[in-house]
Symmetry: C2
Subunit: 305 residues, 2 copies
Amino acid sequence: MSLVVVGSLAYDAVETPHGKVDRMLGGSCTYVSVAASFFSPVSIVGVVGDDFAEEDVQLLQGRGIDVEGVERVPGKTFFWSGVYSEDMNERTTLATDLNVFADFQPKLPASYKTKPYLFLGNIQPQLQKDVRRQMNGVRLAGGDTMNLWIEQTREPLLDTIKDWDFLLINDGEARMLSGEHNIKKTARAILEMGPKTLIIKRGEYGALLFHDDDVFSAPGYLLDSLHDPTGAGDCFAGGFMGYLSSRNVDLNDPAADRKELSRAVIYGSVMGSFCCERFGVERFRSLTRAEIDNRFQEFKSLTDF
Amino acid sequence: MSLVVVGSLAYDAVETPHGKVDRMLGGSCTYVSVAASFFSPVSIVGVVGDDFAEEDVQLLQGRGIDVEGVERVPGKTFFWSGVYSEDMNERTTLATDLNVFADFQPKLPASYKTKPYLFLGNIQPQLQKDVRRQMNGVRLAGGDTMNLWIEQTREPLLDTIKDWDFLLINDGEARMLSGEHNIKKTARAILEMGPKTLIIKRGEYGALLFHDDDVFSAPGYLLDSLHDPTGAGDCFAGGFMGYLSSRNVDLNDPAADRKELSRAVIYGSVMGSFCCERFGVERFRSLTRAEIDNRFQEFKSLTDF
């Protein structure tokens, strides 16, 4: 089936202990869609400035991504710059220039509105809600959020996620959103806010999936070398959502195979792990489906007892 | 088969957000042996003062633990006092009174020396080495260590662990010992120090097992409520070692079932999780083997995809 992804298209400058890149394609929409494109057809919605390079359009289209919903407006593309600490556990933002993204009003092409899967990348909750409303007959919709929206726009955020099938969030933000510390209580509190499925990302420690009373724990992949964690969470989302879309999973169908959800979390983990092996989306230029499936099997042997 | 455990026997005063206990049985030897006793016969080596309560001896003996190797000397039993932070992620030590433990020279009863399994709890590396040397024909020996010994007695520690079959250590200490940050590099560096098997404990995030080129990742159990984490790492060790002993596992046998090692890590995780449900060893007074096996199955469903 087909998937719509909304989020930011950006240029990033990133420095890690492994090197420095002054300008590379980034943004949540980029990472989610590139990762998802290994599983499912993807159509994206976003905004770029007149500096957005043709080769980056070609990179997306080369992965079969439908860019009809990408608006090009005068001005500069969203720019973000950050530097990672020596152990990569901390990240300092040096610059966030919203540029054309400041006035982003997502408009869905007519051909997008009947697609069955929707992923709402980390943008203002009101915009996420607006996009959700433009879709007709979505089978599965959900997305991501961040500390900024939890702190500054809590009510609109709650009003937005109550209609989502799933929420994908990192552990610190999950605790912030729920006001709980214990992770089970955190999950219970968030599931009461509306989403029937919750995925809590824990960085190098993997991810947790909560669905009704079921819990699934995915391990973190042990990387030989972590080059650049930028976008790993979004690639997780792309693998997760791309897999569900490829398998036509309907979370609201009581007869649905619950295991598919867990497998989607593993495919998310797989795509997040590949993302970290190179700067930006570099790793995805050469990645093959066979490598993805091999790593899926590595997760099997990593957890088998 | 039968297991010898060496370590501290202590009284602890502990305060957590769930309550406060002024004096309760503790110490690495206590936790390891009580947890292991659910799987295998256990004989312990340690020292206590004349204040060591008869009811605590009975608690150990009630679990079938052989206390012949516990020396009682004039003076007070080792006393430790600590307080946990609101989120339980930090622990402040308020008092460490070594008392009779300061002059502890482990002496193994003759009946202990031919037992096949040995666990060396977290005591001075020189003493651990000395105990290892007193044993004849041990099939599997290993133990734990801590930041204090890594920082203050690095050379004796390296000289001690080089003869161990396995080392059990937490992630921060593993990084300190190896000088690496990346967890795979950390493991590789430690395996080169001698132990053929390494278990890295990661608290609420579970544990990693490294054995040759195999890696196994055990998830953390999601507790409804964490009452007191004191002793959880030692109970992990007890479950791990008790299970290996009960299954007669020989890590040096090339034909050994590798899966048994992973299962031992899960039983370790099971025992560590039960430990946290009550203060001290309280949970083990009522714990049954059926509850242990049920939780083992919970780990199965938690990781199945």
